[in-house]
Symmetry: C2
Subunit: 196 residues, 2 copies
DNA sequence: TACACTATACCGTCCAGCCGGTATAGTGAC
DNA sequence: GTCACTATACCGGCTGGACGGTATAGTGTA
């Protein structure tokens, strides 16, 4: 008997490792080869699972999409806390983590952006909800809502640029490289002009 | 005998109206329903042409993509001149036209962004080339390359947000509405802080 | 015995690309 | 001027493959 999807609707029960492997494979295919390549067969193969095994965990492709978005939302919630409590300040943290370092959240967001273009409405909503959380934190930190919006737009620009201009498999441009760090420092210096 | 594509490689000869209608239909489907929905049948139907007619003008789906990107590049080249000679200044023009007003270039860019996610490498290159032109003009206008980059990132953020968060058919948020204009004015006021 | 799968086969649908045909407009020969 | 021929601009049907989803029989572990 297939799993009841509602079992995983929240983060209540312990998810199986296979389930997470399937979501990882789904995201990897979305990121590396686009939505069209992320077929059920391909996802199952990449996760080292049979197609039947995939459909055991996710009864349909829509369920797989929902699972991906739910996992992203969970990761985003903890990320917002990281932003709020960042030692160097929320703005510094937000901008520095906008450049796709290959973290699970980064991958989840880029994958969701792929789904959003496929006009999957729930993907759009999930992304919009995440952005709203970010905006709230930044606004809380900088005071001025217009400045907060501008900073978030820079963050968006960084994200979509690294997502689109980068169909490469791995860390082709490592965010910890000296060039990237210097570039980031200069960008943050420019942004600092906005804060009073 | 099918058309030789090289005939249209430049803007030398007069392109047929059907050819442009096909590209319009292709872009519309990409924007409104995503890459997956932009099938040859759907494009042909939307353009009011048979599938055979489409394949007469574009010998393959790749040729259709190439045609779309080539038209975008042509539009972008004239846009760069508009930016350079804008009465209110390049920065003002760039930011105000980053919000998807439904111009042919706007539509072309959003359609190309859809193609880029499908990991069509030529789409990535075409977008990168366009961005490089923009960056050059803005850098020329503001002097500081870091400030130019930050401004372009805001522009990118605006673009991708309006592209992704907006799978709506038409001008659901008209850029000439009072709210949009006010929001844009406030954003430009924030950006003005970066310029000296 | 139940759970978490594997492996295989199959169905209906959709899609890219191909092919034969058609209608029309134009060109050169006589 | 008209006949033979060519080029352009399509139409619409077909095929082979892929995809989502279903079904079923079987396996190993706890």
């Amino acid at each position: 008997m297939p799993l009841d999807d509602s079992r995983y609707a929240g983060a209540v029960t312990t998810p199986s490792p296979t389930r997470d492997r399937l979501l990882d494979a789904f995201e990897a295919l979305l990121i590396e080869q686009g939505e069209k390549a992320a077929t059920l067969d391909a996802v199952a193969a990449r996760a080292g699972v049979s197609k039947g095994g995939l459909l055991y965990h996710f009864g349909s492709k829509d369920a797989l999409v929902d699972g991906q978005l739910a996992r992203m939302a969970a990761l985003a919630t903890t990320d917002v806390e990281n932003i709020r409590n960042a030692p160097a300040g929320p703005v510094d943290y937000l901008i520095r983590t906008s450049v796709n370092a290959g973290t699970p959240l980064d991958r989840a967001i880029i994958a969701a952006a792929c789904l959003a273009q496929g006009t999957h409405p729930s993907a759009n909503e999930a992304i919009a909800a995440m952005r709203a959380q970010w905006l709230a934190v930044i606004e809380e930190a900088v005071g001025d809502p217009d400045v907060a919006e501008a900073i978030l737009l820079v963050s968006d620009g960084l994200y979509y640029n690294s997502a689109l201009a980068n169909p490469m498999p791995a860390e082709a441009h490592d965010p910890h490289s000296p060039e990237s760090t210097q570039q980031m420092d200069r960008l943050l210096a420019v942004i600092a002009k906005l804060l009073k």
